[in-house]
Structures are given as structure tokens and as C-alpha cells.
């Protein structure tokens, strides 16, 4: 565990942070959105996997790139058994999450080389991506869409965009 303020100290300081990201060679406590815009270095996913995730995530849920989808997923994969990805309770055991995402994003990346993101999504929905070599494409699409919904709409900012009150009992560490 890297040294630094603990979660409670961050909360007490009023910080809106989520996790540790490697930005410019240093570990920084930041929101995924801030980490993404500062050009974070992924710790689990490869650069091409991050690129594939950003492209497909943005096509699924516009705003996902800016909200830091790739940084969020990478950070949660790094958290291992503490992962808060939805995959945790829809049948992807935490031990297998990293491989699941890597394989899935490799397959998405390959498909994106020959097609637009919208074409890839249509094919994924029908489990009909030519040459797909990963977990079932429609399942992958469901989970990536859920992750993108998490970062864009599962947050205080996201609720505000939809015009609904967040009304937290205890505020989460990040705006989202």
C-alpha cells in the first residue's frame, strides 16, 4: 500500500478523490476523471487496451472518456479483491477480472481496427463480431456499458445532469 493520507483523512479534508494513480511517475490520489485528463499510466491494462476501452466506452455512454472510464477500470482491477466493478457480482470472480478485461479489450481493439465503434457495438450486441476471441461479446458489452454508466451517471455530477437529487446519507469520496 503506498504511503499517503488514508481514506478518512481525505474525506475529512473534503477531498473528492477515489484512488491512487500513477501520473507523471508519481502516485497521486485523484478522481478517475482527473487521472484521465492528466494522462495516467495504467497499472493493469496495456495502452492499447485503455485506448479500446475509451473508444468503445465513449460510443456506449457519451461522456465516459472525460469521466475517466479507463482510469476507473484500471484502478479497480488493481484493487483486486477490493474491486468495486459491477463484474464482481455478475459472475466474474475477482481473481479472473483482470484476464476478463484484458481479453475482452484485446478483442474490442482488434474489431475497432476494421470497423467504427458503432459498427462494433452492433456486432457485439448480436454476438456476431467476425474473429471475436474473448468472453461472449454481448456480455462484455453489457459490462462495459455498466462501467461507463457508473462513471458518468452513478455520481453526484451524473445525478445532477439527470436532474435528480443525490440525497446522500454519507457522501462518497468522489463526486461520482
Amino acid at each position: 500500500m503506498p504511503a499517503g493520507p488514508n481514506r478518512r483523512e481525505v474525506l475529512a479534508a473534503g477531498g473528492a478523490a477515489l484512488g491512487w494513480f500513477l501520473i507523471g511517475g508519481s502516485r497521486v490520489w485523484a478522481t478517475p476523471a482527473d487521472a484521465a485528463s492528466a494522462g495516467f499510466s495504467p497499472q493493469v491494462l496495456g495502452k492499447e487496451q485503455v485506448q479500446a476501452l475509451a473508444s468503445i466506452g465513449e460510443a456506449l455512454v457519451p461522456g465516459a472518456t472525460q469521466a475517466g472510464l479507463a482510469a476507473f477500470v484500471d484502478n479497480q482491477l488493481e484493487a483486486g479483491s477490493e474491486s468495486k466493478l459491477m463484474a464482481k457480482y455478475v459472475g466474474v470472480p475477482v481473481e479472473q477480472q483482470t484476464d476478463f478485461y484484458r481479453l475482452s479489450l484485446d478483442a474490442v481493439g482488434l474489431a475497432l481496427q476494421k470497423n467504427t465503434a458503432d459498427e462494433v457495438l452492433a456486432a457485439m450486441a448480436a454476438d456476431a463480431v467476425p474473429g471475436w476471441n474473448g468472453p461472449p461479446a454481448s456480455y462484455v458489452m453489457f459490462l462495459l456499458r455498466a462501467d461507463a454508466l457508473d462513471v458518468v451517471y452513478g455520481t453526484q455530477a451524473g445525478f445532477a445532469q439527470l436532474g435528480i437529487p443525490y440525497s446522500a446519507h454519507i457522501l462518497p469520496e468522489a463526486n461520482w
Binding site: 468495486k84 459491477m86 455498466a146 451517471y153 439527470l162
Partner: protein
């Protein structure tokens, strides 16, 4: 440092375990609880569907197979309070007919006790924990004392859906919830913000952290967290007695002795622990007749969604729902399948997460998504179906060949859904879509068939060749080993299990303390004498 031997070791600090811990300690016993998950307090209940996931099971994975897997990762939790730490507080009684499904219909199993045996405990727990509801409006309600609190208010989503129930000749009543509609016993009233899935830190919802845990701690119960029970220890000289528990704590296997052991680790893990307690010369406790792990059940469930012109404001209310319909509960054998069913109507819902409206429509993405979500945020309604499962011997929890880091074999669950149950589910979902149309929905759809709650595996029964425990949860071939929790249920009914398992835990405590409530419920006027 050695831990002094307690009178009772309880495995699992969840709904059942903490109820028993409080009762036994209040009666003067030394009680130690082993809990595999981390220590939690209400301060960990962060209002976010993302953060809510930290309350889920994060122990060794469960291998699952069958046509309707039980969904352990979704349905189980770990840490102080167990799965119940973030349950939704829908507290319903089983109906009398749920106790005699085999005798009445030649299917599933009978319970070794009847509704009348459990009724006094439902009444007692209801008074202690507090339930909000309207016992008169709930016309299907089995006999029992009236709810101690008035029902929670009904918001626009529920009012819109009630129209559809009325238009199709169905009745609704306020959903009974173990959530304070008014301040009670030092606990606050609900604020109707729909964060129950993330846990209710203000204590309005009766999760164990604000009900049984404070009682248990005040009575001197010790809870050892991050302590995984591995095996029940047997007395080498007395085949009927267990002597304690082997557990894994801080990377080291240890042993602890006690006069009595209670396994309350939720259905799959309780069964796994018993199965792992077999030795070369002895079958696992309760498995003399190869019954351990059998009759695994889960409620086939699903959600119906719709959009309305009228504002529904579905963020208001509580996650469990606002209204109830049990019109289809009593007649298990009605045409179209088999089994009881219920609707929990107008659940408070968020945009993201598995149960959110955003994930309910995988077909909407890209530019269409935001306008659709904005509409849904104000005009969507939803309701949840719960149907009965059949208890089948081959739906079973077994041990896998793979092991966890502590060396304990993983659990494997196999669960197939019976055709008649699948038919019943589809029938009710189709009816749900019609109810939404009758309520004026402009667009209707439903989610997949999912598994809600996990029961069976260590079922209670009169015949020790066909069950694992007696009606007090005492494992048949032992004197001092008990199981508590929904793994005891011989049949699933179609109501949420926590009220029943808490009532059963109270009954077990009375039995262990020699206080067996001999008096069966006194019949009240209007009771059906044949129940």
C-alpha cells in the same frame, strides 16, 4: 495470547448469527462469533451504488452450474452484519401453505413445523425489530399481531402502478418493511432517498448493525473478524458431540473449543463448512444419509419496467418497494405453472448498477442515451416479481476440487429450475407487462430471470434420513451442533426470507436456553382452523 473457551461459538456475524449471539449472551452465556469478513460499522455505508459493492461477498468464489444458478456473488455479503447489512428490509411472513407443500401438492418438502409454531416468534421479532405496514389493508396476511408502526408513505411511482393493478382486478397494500416510518427505539425514521442497497447508516432500516449487534456487544459477545471457520471439530470418543471449530486467522490455522457450535454462515458457506468437516472414518455432520447440500433453492425473480407520461419520480422511496400484491400467493397449483408469487411494487431506483434503469436497456446507447435517461429519471416505474422454487434433491451444494488460500475446498452449487417454476415465472412476468400497460405505460419491458435469496442445503425435517437438522436446527447426528439461517428452509415460499430466519433463530434460542415457547399461537377470531 489464548482465547478462553466460550460456551458457544457462532460462525457468521449476519442476521441469524447475531440474533442468536444476542439472545444467548443476554442469558449469561459466553459467546464468541467468528466472522470471515471485515469489521464494519454504519460509517461504511456510503451512499453510492458503486461503493455499495464493497459490502458484497469477497471471500473465496463459489463455482456455479445449472439452468438457474443461484448468484452467490450478488446474493451474499461478508463482514459484520453479513448480507443483511445492506438488505432492503422487506419483511414478510411465510403463508401457512408454505409449510406443507409436499402434503398439499406432492411437490417440494414439508416443514417439520407449521405456521402456528412460528407465529409467536414472528410477533415477538416484529415488536423487537419494528415493522411498518398496514395489517388490515394486507388482506392476504397470515394471522399475527398488527404492525407496530404505520406504513411508509406511498409516492407517485406507486400511485401510478396501483392504477394498473386496480384496472386488472388486483389488489395492493403497503409493503411491510423493517424500516421505521416513525422514530422508534432510538432509531431514526426513513428519509425515502432509496440508498438502502448501499446500507442505511441512519439506522432507519433494521440491519443487524443497529438491531442485534448493539445488544450482542452490550451483553459481552466477542466478535473475531477476518476469522474463517474451516472445520467443525468432533469428539473422538463421543460420536454425537462436537468440541469446537478449527479456523484460520491472521494466516494461521487455530482451534477453539466450546460446549456448543452454531453454524450461521449463510446457505452456501454453512453447507460448505459442514461438508468440509467429514473425516476419513466419519461422514460430515448431518450427512449420514447423504442429505447435506440437497434441496438448494432460490427465488426465481425479475423486474418489469415501463415509461409513463405522468411523472413517477422513481428515486423516491426505499429500494424494497412501496406496495405489495399477494393475490397470486395462496393458490400454488393455479394453471400456468406451479408455485406462489408476489409483486414488490415501485422500488426506488438509481440510474446505474445492476438493478438500475440504465442497465435495464442495453439496446439504448450513444446519442440516444442521455435523453432516454433524463426521461426515465422522472417517468420510469418498476416492480419486482418473486416466485417460488421447487425443492429438488439434485439441486445441491457440494465441495469443489479447487481450494481457497486457507486450503478449504471451494463450494460448488448446482441449481436447475423446474419447468413448472420457469413457466410460472414467465406467466407472471407477462401479467406484469399487462399491468403496466393497464396503468398507462407507453413503453414496457422486463429484465432477465434472476436468482434472489439462497435457501436450503441443510434442511430441517422430522425424518433424519431425509433432512439434515431437526426443527430447532440441531444437526441430526449430533447433540450440540446447530445450523441457523435460510439453509434450514425445506421449501422456499415466495417471500423474502429474513423475517422468517430471524423468527426461527429466536425459536432456536428459546430451545437452547430451555425456554421452548410451548404455547402455540392462540387462534384469533377469523383464523382459518385448517391452516
Amino acid at each position: 495470547m489464548t482465547t478462553p473457551a466460550p460456551d458457544t461459538i457462532i460462525v457468521g456475524a449476519g442476521a441469524a448469527g447475531l440474533t442468536l449471539a444476542a439472545r444467548l449472551a443476554e442469558a449469561g452465556e459466553q459467546v464468541l462469533v467468528l466472522e470471515v469478513g471485515p469489521q464494519r460499522s454504519v460509517k461504511d455505508m456510503i451512499s453510492s451504488q458503486i461503493w455499495a459493492r464493497q459490502l458484497k461477498w469477497s471471500g473465496p468464489p463459489v463455482e456455479e452450474s445449472g439452468t438457474h444458478p443461484v448468484g452467490h456473488a450478488f446474493n451474499a455479503g461478508a463482514g459484520t452484519g453479513g448480507s443483511a447489512a445492506h438488505h432492503y428490509g422487506v419483511w414478510l411472513r411465510l403463508h401457512p401453505g408454505d409449510f406443507s407443500v409436499a402434503s398439499d401438492h406432492g411437490k417440494s418438502l414439508d416443514w417439520p413445523i407449521s405456521y402456528r409454531d412460528v407465529q409467536p416468534y414472528y410477533d415477538r421479532v416484529q415488536e423487537q425489530v419494528g415493522i411498518s405496514g398496514d395489517s388490515e389493508a394486507e388482506i392476504w396476511r397470515p394471522p399475527g399481531s398488527p404492525y407496530p408502526m404505520p406504513p411508509l408513505p406511498v409516492f407517485s411511482q406507486a400511485r401510478v402502478l396501483a392504477r394498473g393493478f386496480a384496472a386488472t382486478g388486483r389488489r395492493t397494500a403497503p409493503l411491510p418493511l423493517a424500516i421505521n416510518s416513525v422514530p422508534r427505539h432510538g432509531r431514526a425514521a426513513c428519509q425515502y432517498d432509496g440508498w438502502c442497497d448501499a446500507g442505511c447508516p441512519i439506522g432507519a432500516l433494521a440491519n443487524p448493525l443497529v438491531t442485534s449487534l448493539p445488544r450482542a456487544l452490550a451483553a459481552g459477545v466477542t466478535i473475531m473478524h477476518e476469522a474463517q471457520a474451516l472445520r467443525i471439530l468432533r469428539d473422538p470418543n463421543k460420536p454425537n458431540r462436537v468440541t469446537g471449530v478449527e479456523y484460520h486467522h491472521q494466516g494461521v490455522p487455530r482451534q477453539l473449543m466450546a460446549q456448543r457450535v452454531i453454524v450461521a454462515a449463510f446457505t452456501v458457506q454453512s453447507t460448505r463448512l459442514l461438508l468440509n468437516s467429514a473425516s476419513e472414518d466419519r461422514p460430515a455432520p448431518g450427512n449420514q444419509h447423504d442429505q447435506l447440500g440437497r434441496y438448494l433453492t432460490t427465488h426465481p425473480a425479475g423486474t418489469v419496467f415501463g415509461l409513463f407520461e405522468q411523472e413517477t419520480l422513481p428515486h423516491q422511496g426505499v429500494s424494497g418497494g412501496q406496495l405489495l400484491c399477494h393475490d397470486d400467493y395462496k393458490d400454488k397449483a393455479s394453471p400456468g405453472g406451479f408455485g406462489s408469487s408476489q409483486w414488490m411494487i415501485a422500488n426506488a431506483i438509481k440510474p446505474n448498477d445492476l438493478l438500475g434503469y440504465g442497465t435495464s436497456r442495453a439496446d439504448i446507447s450513444g446519442k440516444q442515451l442521455r435523453p432516454w435517461l433524463m426521461k426515465a429519471a422522472r417517468h420510469l416505474a418498476n416492480m419486482t416479481l418473486v416466485t417460488e422454487d421447487l425443492s429438488l434433491p439434485d439441486n445441491r451444494i457440494t465441495l469443489s476440487d479447487s481450494r481457497d488460500p486457507a486450503g478449504m475446498p471451494l463450494a460448488h452449487t448446482h441449481h436447475d429450475i423446474a419447468d413448472v417454476s420457469a413457466q410460472r415465472w414467465q406467466q407472471r412476468i407477462d401479467e406484469g407487462l399487462d399491468i403496466f400497460r393497464a396503468a398507462g405505460a407507453t413503453d414496457v419491458w422486463h429484465g432477465p430471470r434472476v436468482a434472489m435469496h439462497i435457501m436450503g442445503g441443510t434442511v430441517m425435517g422430522r425424518d433424519d434420513t431425509l433432512s439434515v437438522t431437526d426443527s430447532f436446527g440441531r444437526v441430526h447426528d449430533t447433540d450440540n451442533l446447530y445450523v441457523s439461517g435460510p439453509s434450514l428452509f425445506p421449501s422456499s415460499g415466495a417471500v423474502n426470507p429474513t423475517f422468517t430466519l430471524t423468527a426461527l433463530a429466536e425459536r432456536q434460542a428459546d430451545h437452547m436456553l430451555g425456554l421452548a415457547l410451548a404455547a402455540a399461537a392462540t387462534p384469533s377470531p377469523g383464523d382459518d382452523p385448517t391452516l
